[in-house]
Every structure is written in C-alpha cells, then in structure tokens.
Symmetry: C2
Subunit: 260 residues, 2 copies
DNA sequence: CAGTGGTCTAGACCACTGA
DNA sequence: CAGTGGTCTAGACCACTGA
C-alpha cells in the first residue's frame, strides 16, 4: 500500500478545500455550559452511553452540576447541533450513531488559497462571452433556451503551473456586469461572492479524464487522471452559476479533518 | 463543456458521501428565536449587510422584536455557529465573508450506502492478517516498528460490480479482535465504529491511478482514473486505523450540498 | 465612560411520550 | 399522570472595546 501523507503537502501543491476550524477549545472553557458539554463528550468518547443509550436528563444534570436548566440546555443543544446526541421531546436524550464523523467544509476562492500558501497566482482567460443557452443548460442555469448566458473559460496557475481549468456559465440576471470583470485580477468566484454573498450549492466530486481542450490548456495527457468538481450555485432559488473545475490529479487534492 | 448532472445518479452508481440534513425548516419555525434568525438570514441573502458590515446589536433586536435578550442571543449564536456572522465582544456583530458556502459531511458505511440504494452489497476478502509494522507506517498508526499491525484488503461490490478497494491497517491495541470478524458480513468501518464510537479523522481526496493489484481486483485498466480517499482515524489521540479507498472513477463519485 | 457581547439564574408555560 | 425536552422572560454580573 502506498501511504500518502494525509497531512503534509505533496510537490508543494495540494490542499484544495479548507476546513473551518472547530469551535475554539480554550476560550471560555471554564464556563459551566462548556464543562457540562465536555463531561458528556468525554463520556461518549470513553464508550459510556453507547449508540442509542439514554443519556442523563436535563434535570439530572441540573442537580449534578448545580446550575440552572438553561445552562444544561445550552450544552445539550450544542451537542445536538454537532450530531453527537439525539433529543426527543417526552422521551429524553440519546447517544447518536455515526454522528462524530462529520466535518464542516468551506470552499475557498482559489486565489486566496494559492496566495495563502505564499505562492503566485495568475489566470489566463480563454473565453468570455455571451452565448445562446442550450437545451441541456437551460433548466440548470434558469435561463430560457436561446436566451443569452455568460460563458467563461479560465485557467488558474500556481507558480506558473496550471492547476485548475474553470469552465463556467453564469445567469446574466444575477450578474449583468459579469463579462466586464477583468478576470486576470478578480476570480469569478470572488466576483460572484460580492454580487450574491449568500448562496446554496450542490456539488459532485469525481475522478475522470479532461476533455481534449482542457488537457491542452492544463498541459497534461489525455489519459491523466483529473479531480473534477461540478458545482451549481443557487441564491434564494435563483440559479446563479454552473461551473466545472478540472484539476490534474498529480497537482491537486482535497484535504480535511473530521472532529467531534 | 460536458454537463454532468450533479443531482441525479450516473449508471445507477454514485453518491459517495451522504450529507447530513440541515436544521429542520418547519418545526418550531414560529418560535421567536427562529423568526429573528430568519429575519437576519434573509437580510444577509438580500445583500443588506454586505461582508464586514455591522449588524444590529442585541439590544436593538430586543427592542425591535419585543423579546428578551436570551432569545436574541440564541438567534445570533446559531448564526455564528453556521458561520454567517462574526461576533466580537465590545464591538458588535458583523456579517461574515464566505461563510455560507459550507456543508456538513458525514461519511457513511459503504454497506449502508449501497443497501440504502436498494442494491446488493457483497465483500471479498483478499487479505486479513497481522504484519510487522513498517517504518513508514509506525508513526501514523501508533505502533512500534516491527510490532504486529492488522492488515486487511477487501473489495466491496455493488450488484456484483467492484466499487471500492479497501486497504486498511488497524492498531491492534484499539481492536484486538479485529481479525476474528467475518468481513463478508460486517464491514471494517461498521466494526470499528462499534469498538470506538467517537473519533476524529483526517482525510485526503484525490484522483490518481490504482496500483496494479488494485486495478486487477477492481477489473479496470492501469490508466483508468480513480477517486482515492486516504483517511486516518484517531480516538482520543490514539490512532485507530489508516485506510486507502480506491474507487473506479467511472463508478463512484462524491456528492453533496451546501446550504446556509 | 457607554455600549458591546458572554454567560448565568430562577423561574415559567408548553407539547409531547408512555404508563 | 409524572417526566421529558422546547422555549421564553426579566433580570444579573462580567470582560471587553473605543471614545
């Protein structure tokens, strides 16, 4: 078995998705609600309260810790939010199943990601125009068939090595000025985040081959494995953008951490 | 641009990582804290309070909604937990930056995942033995060099199609009975979750080629792109297991959804 | 100093579950 | 019915920031 180092970098290039840090451990660690939370968390980790076991009730914890019920409630509600316990009105609090193995992922702007590594980022624009919307695209981008849709094709480089080919469609209704952006200075992701700061997204991560054009732009072979992310973004039920991100498998990967 | 359908399945096989559902929308939607939260969330979505803008203070919201401060605090604390706002003592509450683009991922047991799709799962065991720990492995699995470490190599099939090659090392101290498990009936993931219900994990997701042995077991070509996940699992600072999961890129992908 | 968020108390009313 | 969690109130003390 080849054992890639899951925490280090590889070839100086890597780490695609940044993980939001968990709630700070130190600050206010001595607060009663935090102590109760830690007590329950430790018990779960130690195997007391196996999955589906009934945990102490709020009133029991109130008596045990000598605090008000609101304080206990907060500890339990946060554990519930982290998926560590399940609470049912009228029944009680139960230890959860697979809950702990979860992680919060934040997709970062590639420009920020590269510069955060202390490397140079630059982008080359290969396409930036309006096109008539196709049948296949229309339902996913929320534009009528034949109506104009913005289309950009941009390659992002880290220290002059092509790292990502970004093939993007944008709904003109959401970002009418999109094509006037200088994409060598501002990434589409950054621009769209400004236009619509809050959004929802669906994504798919897969391994496959680049198209012939993508392989040429990335300087890789037709059969070289690529990490491909397709993401569709929606703001208040209005589709904003659909993007296909192709990364050479040898230059990019996603890393993260799960913690309870 | 090929436009994969990010929400449907492909070849009847797909969807690797299951996404935990967001907080229920309906239940207790009329609770005051939920109304305040929705009010702030809508404002953020609508572009009022751009990133870094100062948002209403707790006392302002108390006055505006005619509720007690605890109720306002709860709404704001939950928004903070979701990464939508940043709060600084002495200063105030600020609209956050990229926060919304985040998601909670839960890694499911592959057996559950396959049977949840209504398909048949079966596993073939190609290796299950103790081996002396190598230099490279020792620091990652927490076993002394030369001391025994458990090693299993299992292929998981969905409807008789090889879907995943699971190459796993296990720390005997954490699961002394590991090798006595019938892995055609219980997956290693399932077994280890029982032994150590709460854990942390580091993972890396990448695209690459299978080894010659993996390619043979999966019935794919040496140059076929594969989605490879390497995951290291730790329970209370004690390493439990290190696993390399190789999936044919044409048969497996990870899907998910971000929502604020 | 006034204003902010961080946390807590000691009550309260309610909906729900199972006996 | 007693016990559970879901939510709220009207206060309180504190640490912190910037003027």
């Amino acid at each position: 078995m080849a054992i890639p180092d899951a925490t280090g970098t590889r070839n100086g290039i890597g780490i695609g998705i940044a993980i939001a840090p968990g709630p700070g451990a130190d600050p206010s660690a001595r607060a009663p609600y935090a102590r109760i939370k830690a007590f329950l968390k430790d018990g779960l980790a130690a195997g007391r309260w196996p999955p589906d076991a009934l945990m102490p009730s709020e009133s029991e914890l109130v008596a045990q810790f000598g605090v008000s019920r609101m304080t206990v409630t907060r500890a339990l509600r946060e554990l519930q939010g982290e998926g560590l316990v399940t609470r049912v009105q009228g029944l009680g609090t139960y230890a959860a199943h697979l809950a702990p193995v979860s992680s919060t992922i934040t997709i970062r702007d590639l420009h920020e990601e590269i510069t955060a590594r202390g490397h140079r980022h630059h982008a080359t624009v290969h396409l930036a125009r309006a096109e008539p919307c196709t049948d296949a695209l229309a339902p996913r981008i929320g534009v009528a068939v034949g109506a104009p849709v913005f289309h950009t094709l941009i390659v992002h480089h880290e220290n002059d090595v092509p790292l990502q080919c970004e093939d993007r469609y944008v709904n003109p209704a959401c970002a009418p000025e999109y094509l006037h952006t200088d994409f060598t200075r501002i990434t589409p992701t950054h621009y769209l985040l400004q236009v619509a700061p809050l959004w929802e997204a669906q994504y798919a991560i897969e391994s496959g081959n680049a198209t012939a054009q993508e392989a040429r732009l990335l300087g890789i072979g037709a059969r070289d494995p690529c990490l491909i992310i397709v993401r569709r973004t929606v703001n208040r039920d209005v589709p904003i953008t659909l993007v296909r991100l192709v990364h050479p498998g040898s230059r990019y990967r996603l890393e993260g951490q799960f913690s309870p």
